[in-house]
């Protein structure tokens, strides 16, 4: 299935992409599966969204989709169906922390 991912502006610049990223996911669509595919395609993003080793989400990064905050969902939990059909994107967002 094809998952649409929206990166924050700084990570789009870093990965040298414009607009949404489309990632092919072969197995079940989960946060881990999306981020694994994203980091495999754009190695420069490794460590910028989650820790290199523990894969724990960085504190100032949030995950939104379908009007919901998925940041605290289990990384291996299935993503909402609207993401798997391409209807909605998976949003990676820099936390609103000023600066």
């Amino acid at each position: 299935m094809m998952i649409r991912v929206v990166l924050p502006a700084h990570l789009r610049t870093l990965a040298r992409v414009d607009g949404e990223v489309k990632l092919e996911i072969e197995d079940q669509a989960t946060q881990d599966a999306v981020l694994n595919a994203l980091e495999a395609r754009y190695p420069v993003l490794r460590g910028t969204i989650r820790d290199h080793v523990t894969h724990r989400r960085r504190p100032f990064v949030r995950f939104y989709a379908c009007g919901r905050d998925l940041s605290h969902e289990r990384p291996d939990a299935p993503l909402p169906e609207a993401l798997t059909t391409g209807e909605e994107p998976f949003l990676i967002v820099g936390a609103m922390a000023g600066g």
Partner: protein, 392 residues
Amino acid sequence: MSGVRVLVGTRKGAFVLTSDGKRQQWDVNGPYFGGWELYHLKGSPADPNRLYASQSSSWFGQIIQRSDDGGKTWETPGGERMPDPYDPPVGMSNNFMYDTSSETGKPLTTHQWYDGTQHPWEFKRVWHLEPSLTDPDTVYAGVEDAALFRSTNGGQSWQELPALRSAKGHLWQPGAGGMCLHTILLDPSDPQRIFIAISAAGTFRTEDGGRTWRPVNRGLKSQMELPDPNAEVGHCVHCIAMHPSRPNVLFMQKHWDVMRSDDGGDSWHEISGNLPSDFGFPIAVHAHEPETIYVVPIKSDSEHYPPEGKLRVYRSRTGGNEWEALTKGLPQQNCYLNVLRDAMAVDSLDPCGIYVGTSGGQVYASADSGNHWTPIVRDLPPVLSVEAQALP
């Protein structure tokens, strides 16, 4: 020499300033990596067009950037887009993993926290990049929480030199800016000898390329900061400097006190002399006069601005103790900015150029060893670091 390039790291991006040898007219290029903190940029002495930059943010962590054309274009080494999603990445240029392996590493224990309790070691960012004197692909990185890393493949991957943490790391503690390894001095006469400095741990020396380290802080006194003012480690060293022709002579700007060692750090003595304040952050040595040194006095550890609202670079031509204020062209009233530890640099042209970057976003330059100053750029974001390269 045909010109000079000044690399400026700021809170919101990097800038590259260039001029001819007269250093009167400057071109300003940037911002590069706009919106990110650029703690440090530095060029390779072996290849002036090879630059390394530390790019970081609280949101997205650490990135290492590299340029092979003097800063016109940049890449993240090993971070190129993969043609196939299942290809392995070429490198891991932003992966700074402390070495805890039983074969080569050291256990990642704890260090002191501000309140004296023990605190786990955590990587936060790269404060300083020091390219090898001879190999453009070899570069050292000083990081927070304090450790020294080395890359031998142009920044694609990094390995810690973990023995440093064994030098009483449990007694190290963060300064106000964090527990950062901020200074790396490579001895031009001995590739195996390196000096590093950490806030607030002190100065350390290796004589075997980083396999073993020992604290070299004898003579430092920290009456108000440490229970034992003469402790072997724990001193808040802000910056150290060396002239390449005399690697046994070191100069130090400590939290308080300006210090000097004539025996490669084995002992230190104070050279604050007639400075209006001996608190400050950077210290630099003239490119051609090993006894001429520069500091920027700051009022106090909480009042991070110049005494009397006057930005004065102080110069000693006697290796310390006797200091003269350099003021021509620098603001002499209502000036309440700061100059951080990596924000003063010299170039190797003749006469020697001096550059000072401020928290107010100015870079002041002198093309005559400090006698006269002029802002070569102003209104940048707060300046974190300044490095100068003489170009062939």
